[in-house]
Structures are given as structure tokens and as C-alpha cells.
């Protein structure tokens, strides 16, 4: 990699990537005696699309859960925008501007698409409980303002037609898109996507890839994503972390990673003698 240390870099397609936004330092995560993540360090830069890949059970999701505060690592530090992050609850991480989606879609099934996306705005709503209860003036104005942001995102992700539909009735691919909309509604600084394309057909995958690129391009959102599908990842991401059995076995641009022998072994299998 060229000049990674201070000022960031310019991607082959000419996008400018900034300094370090989030840095994971020597993260180790254990569940009882099982080590899910062993001493992993990497960083995520402003404006970048960063992928974490690896075979099943490599610890990718665990890593994402550490970033979003769902798991607390036994060792290591998480640095966000130049300061060390104290131990935080997941909702506090969300309030810091880190939004996420889940591998097995976690939407509010009983609510409409619009209401689901509106929950993404909760961290931006500041009116107190009493004002909300009385429901006049400030609270109303706030609702309208947030509604505008939400409508913009709904347009952006092309889900206008299903705005009022209860989420439970939607097909899988659309649910994934609604989940992305809800995460985007928070106007996150960092967007975490856990297998955004899992279980999708080719067409849906292409749509989702386009949306991810557009989000990054239009809103300048930094994105960290986990994917299984090597092809998709290589096309989308600026830099890739490769994990296997909880360890980092590669880190770099898609081209660098593709030619890394350890990565090839992990993916294709290697004879042990």
C-alpha cells in the first residue's frame, strides 16, 4: 500500500480516502475456552469501503459485533475518531453514529416499512418525554424534519411502493433493503453491513452492490461490510481484511489479497502433511 500512515490515499477510481476513523488494536475475544478472535488489529478510514472476508466460522461476525458493541472483547482496544472508546452498550455505540444491519435480518416485523425506517432517526430526536407526551410545537416540527430525511432515503433505495406495508409481508430481498434504509436513516458516520447479500439471487446482489456504492458515493458514508462471496467483495471494496480461524491472515487492496498465498490456502484448502 502507498502512504497509509497519515494522510490517507487515493483509490484507483480516483476517490479520496481520508485518515483513520476507527482502529481495532490487538482484539481478542473468547467465549469460555473458545477463541473467536485472536489478536487482530486493523483500521477503517474515512470514506472507505472496507471488507472483512473469510470462510465460515472465521470470526467475521464476531468482529462486527465487537465494533458495534454487542460483544465485549477480553483484550484489545477500540479507537474511534482519535479517542479510545470506553466499554459501551450497543445503544451507546449507535448513538455515536455507528449503524448496522444483521446477518439474519432484525427488523420490527409488526411495524410498517416507514415506521421501521423512522426508528433509525431515534438517535436524532432530542425532544424530551413530556414535550412528546403533550405533542405540540417542537416535537411536531422535529417529527416533520425527520420524516423528510426518511422520505429521502426511501426514495434513494427505491422502496416508495412499499412504504406502508407491514415488514412481515415483504420478501427476503426487500427486507434486506429496508434494514439498510433503517441503518442509513441514522445518517451514520460508519455503516456496518453483516452479509448484506447473503441468500440473494444474482439480480438482487447487483442491486444491493449498486446501493452500497451509491451510499458511499452520495453520502460519503464509511462502510465496513462482511461478505462471503469473494467476487462481490473484490468489486466493491477499497481494502480487505481476511480472517481465518479467528486470526488475520491478510490485509490490503483486493489485488494484494487475491495474490496472498495464505488467503488462497484458506479459501481453496491446503494439504496438511
Amino acid at each position: 500500500m502507498n502512504d497509509m500512515s497519515t494522510e490517507g490515499y487515493v483509490t484507483p477510481d480516483g476517490r479520496k480516502i481520508g485518515g483513520v476513523m476507527m482502529e481495532m488494536k490487538n482484539i481478542t475475544l473468547r467465549f469460555g475456552g473458545v477463541k473467536a478472535i485472536t489478536d487482530i488489529s486493523f483500521d477503517i478510514r474515512e470514506g472507505e469501503i472496507r471488507a472483512i472476508i473469510g470462510p465460515n466460522g472465521a470470526g467475521k461476525s464476531s468482529m462486527l459485533n465487537v465494533i458495534s458493541g454487542f460483544y465485549v472483547p477480553q483484550e484489545g482496544e477500540v479507537w474511534f475518531r482519535g479517542t479510545k472508546r470506553p466499554q459501551m452498550k450497543p445503544y451507546q455505540v449507535a448513538q455515536q453514529g455507528i449503524a448496522r444491519t444483521f446477518q439474519n435480518i432484525a427488523l420490527f416485523e409488526g411495524m410498517s416499512v416507514l415506521d421501521n425506517v423512522m426508528t433509525g432517526r431515534l438517535t436524532h430526536m432530542k425532544t424530551g418525554m413530556i414535550a412528546q407526551a403533550i405533542w405540540k410545537g417542537k416535537a411536531e416540527q422535529e417529527e416533520v424534519e425527520n420524516r423528510e430525511v426518511v422520505e429521502k432515503i426511501i426514495d434513494f433505495l427505491e422502496i416508495q411502493a412499499i412504504r406502508k406495508t407491514p415488514v412481515a409481508r415483504l420478501p427476503y430481498g426487500l427486507k434486506k433493503r429496508v434494514e439498510l434504509a433503517r441503518a442509513l436513516a441514522a445518517e451514520p458516520k460508519l455503516l456496518l453491513l453483516d452479509e448484506p447479500m447473503a441468500g440473494m439471487n444474482v439480480e438482487e446482489k447487483e442491486d444491493m452492490s449498486r446501493f452500497i456504492l451509491d451510499v458511499n458515493d452520495e453520502f460519503g458514508t464509511t462502510i465496513a461490510l462482511i461478505e462471503h462471496d469473494m467476487g462481490v467483495v473484490m468489486d466493491l471494496s477499497d481494502r480487505v481484511v481476511v480472517m481465518d480461524y479467528g486470526k488475520k491472515i491478510g490485509d490490503g487492496t483486493p489485488d494484494e489479497v487475491r495474490n496472498n498465498q495464505a488467503v488462497i490456502d484458506a479459501y481453496l484448502g491446503v494439504a496438511h502433511d
Binding site: 445503544y91 449507535a94 427488523l107 415506521d115 412528546q132
Partner: protein
């Protein structure tokens, strides 16, 4: 014959009023169950506790006076002042919020992700603990609660109906007030949960904990909020029932009457709690009026449960409950 008809109409109206009170208790159950999946057995005792606290504060009782006197050898029972009803209600509400916080901090915080039956057992424990605390704080004797609600027969209604039909309707003033209060409470709660920020967060938590966390909702805050609202509903129910029949242990048993109401209305539906309460209220009064004599009377004691049993057979999710479809 018209005499009989008017009497039946009166029975129905009284049934509706009684139903409102059942609904009020059932509402407390629904709120907590929806948001946290906890079936709160202690809801009835919460009403008792709230009512006892209200009486205690109004009369200027020293809380835990027996305990204090036993330990310190003093003889204090009263502060010697009387707190006006409105102020006392506000203070009681503060106590209920404190209770909501304590319940979450010392009990349910340690039971996150436990099975429903374990949470249920915890609320049974909570019910006994709260009952004991209520006795210890304010004494176990029968107390009269008088917050200035009108009581007795509504004379105007009696006169007007007598003038119109030649038959005076006997409706208790307290029942009228209770109905109005319950109506306001239900409308407010529904609007609040549908259209406010906290209401949306509340529904989100009820739906999916993980997803709620990921959009920045503090589960703890929502649970304390829900228990506080349930505490408020318990306070209102406690005031109404307490004013009607005194503050005593049997007040907590009305929680059992809420069970058939929930089976009818569904455990997760606010409108269900209301409609269920009304059906049971009217049903048991009407049943007693028409067939009660033939069955030796006192059918009100069991009618609700039998009706709930029939519902369990034909519509286990209740009138408004969510239908459970298991995918295989």
C-alpha cells in the same frame, strides 16, 4: 315488561362500568407483557401498594413506623400533617417510578434472556415481596381511601331517566368517573405509543431487542418507562377500586379477574384489554341477572373463568391477539 327491560338496560350499564375497572387492571398486564414478554403477576399487588402508599401519604403516616419504633424504642406514627389529594397522587407516582427503577435494577437486569416461566416466577416473588413491603410501610389494616371522588347514586341521572321512562336508573357516581378516567387513559396511551418518539421506541423493543439496540434504544430505559406506566395504571386502578371497597389485601386479588379478560382480549392488545374487560363486565352481570337465579346465584364468581375457558378452546390467541403461526 318494560320494567324488566329497563332493569336489564341498567344491568348492562352497570356491567360496562364494572368492565372498565377490569380493563384498567388488564391494561397494566398488557403494557409490560408487550414490551418485555414478562407476565407480571404482581400487577394487582402493585395496585394495592399504590393505593396503600397514597392513603399513607395523605394521612401523613410515617413509613415503616412499626419497624422504626421496634428498633429505636420510639413511638412515632404520624407526621401530624395531611397532604392534599393531588399532591399525594403526584408523590405516589414518584414512588411508583422509583419502584419501576428498583424492579429493573435489582431483579430483571439479572434475568435478561431468561425463559418466560422464570420471569413469571420472579414476578410472583415480587408480588409477595411487595405485599409484605406494603404492610411493613403502611400497616396491614383496612384503610379507607378518599381522594374526593364523588360517590353514591347519581341523582341527576336517576331523575332524568325517571322523567323520561318512568324508571330511575341507578348508576354509581364513582363508576361514571372511573369510566371517564379509564377512557382518557386508554386514548392517551394509544396515541402516545403510536405517535411519540418513546412510543415508537417502545414498540421497537417489543418487536426485536437486537434491532432496537442497533438503532440506539436503551432497553433499560424503555423497561423502566414501561414499568412506570404500568405503575401509573396500577395507581389509577388502585384509586378506583380502593375508593369503592377500601384498601385491603383483597384489592390485589382483582388481578385474578384480569386473567380471563386477557384471555378474551389477547395478551398483547391494548384495545383487546378494554373490549375484553367490557365483555366480561357485562357478561357476568347479565348472566347473573338472567340465569343466576336458576343456578343458585353468585355466578359472578366463576362466569368470567368459564367464558375464558370457552375462548381458550376456540380462539386461543384472544379476540385481538396475534395469531401464532409456527413455520416448519
Amino acid at each position: 315488561m318494560p320494567e324488566q327491560l329497563f332493569f336489564a338496560a341498567e344491568v348492562i350499564m352497570n356491567g360496562l362500568m364494572a368492565g372498565v375497572l377490569y380493563a384498567l387492571v388488564a391494561l397494566g398486564f398488557v403494557l409490560i407483557y408487550k414490551a418485555s414478554g414478562i407476565f407480571n403477576y404482581s400487577q394487582g399487588v402493585m395496585a394495592l401498594f399504590a393505593a396503600a402508599t397514597l392513603v399513607g401519604i395523605m394521612d401523613g403516616q410515617v413509613p415503616f413506623s412499626h419497624l422504626i419504633n421496634a428498633i429505636l424504642g420510639t413511638n412515632v406514627h404520624h407526621f401530624g400533617w395531611h397532604v392534599p389529594a393531588v399532591l399525594a397522587i403526584l408523590m405516589t407516582m414518584a414512588v411508583m417510578v422509583l419502584l419501576a427503577w428498583a424492579v429493573n435494577r435489582f431483579v430483571f437486569k439479572y434475568l435478561v434472556n431468561q425463559e418466560a416461566i422464570i420471569l413469571f416466577m420472579a414476578t410472583i416473588g415480587l408480588a409477595y415481596f411487595l405485599e409484605g413491603t406494603s404492610d411493613l410501610m403502611w400497616g396491614g389494616q383496612l384503610k379507607t381511601l378518599d381522594v374526593g371522588l364523588p360517590q353514591g347514586m347519581n341523582a341527576t341521572l336517576d331523575e332524568v331517566t325517571f322523567g323520561m321512562f318512568g324508571y330511575g336508573f341507578f348508576i354509581d357516581n364513582l363508576d361514571i368517573v372511573a369510566s371517564i378516567v379509564a377512557l382518557i387513559l386508554v386514548v392517551t396511551l394509544t396515541v402516545y405509543s403510536q405517535y411519540s418518539k418513546q412510543g415508537r421506541a417502545l414498540r421497537a423493543v417489543a418487536d426485536d431487542h437486537q434491532a432496537a439496540l442497533s438503532v440506539g434504544i436503551s432497553l433499560n430505559f424503555i423497561w423502566i418507562l414501561v414499568w412506570s406506566i404500568a405503575g401509573f395504571v396500577a395507581l389509577v386502578a388502585g384509586i378506583m377500586w380502593g375508593a369503592k371497597s377500601g384498601v385491603q389485601f383483597s384489592l390485589s386479588l382483582m388481578a385474578l379477574k384480569a386473567l380471563p379478560v386477557l384471555m378474551l382480549g389477547g395478551f398483547t392488545s391494548i384495545p383487546g384489554a378494554i373490549v375484553g374487560g367490557l365483555i366480561i363486565g357485562v357478561g357476568e352481570k347479565l348472566f347473573e341477572f338472567t340465569l343466576g337465579g336458576m343456578m343458585g346465584g353468585a355466578t359472578e364468581n366463576w362466569f368470567a373463568y368459564v367464558l375464558a375457558l370457552i375462548f381458550l378452546v376456540f380462539r386461543p390467541q384472544g379476540l385481538f391477539g396475534e395469531k401464532i403461526i409456527e413455520r416448519v
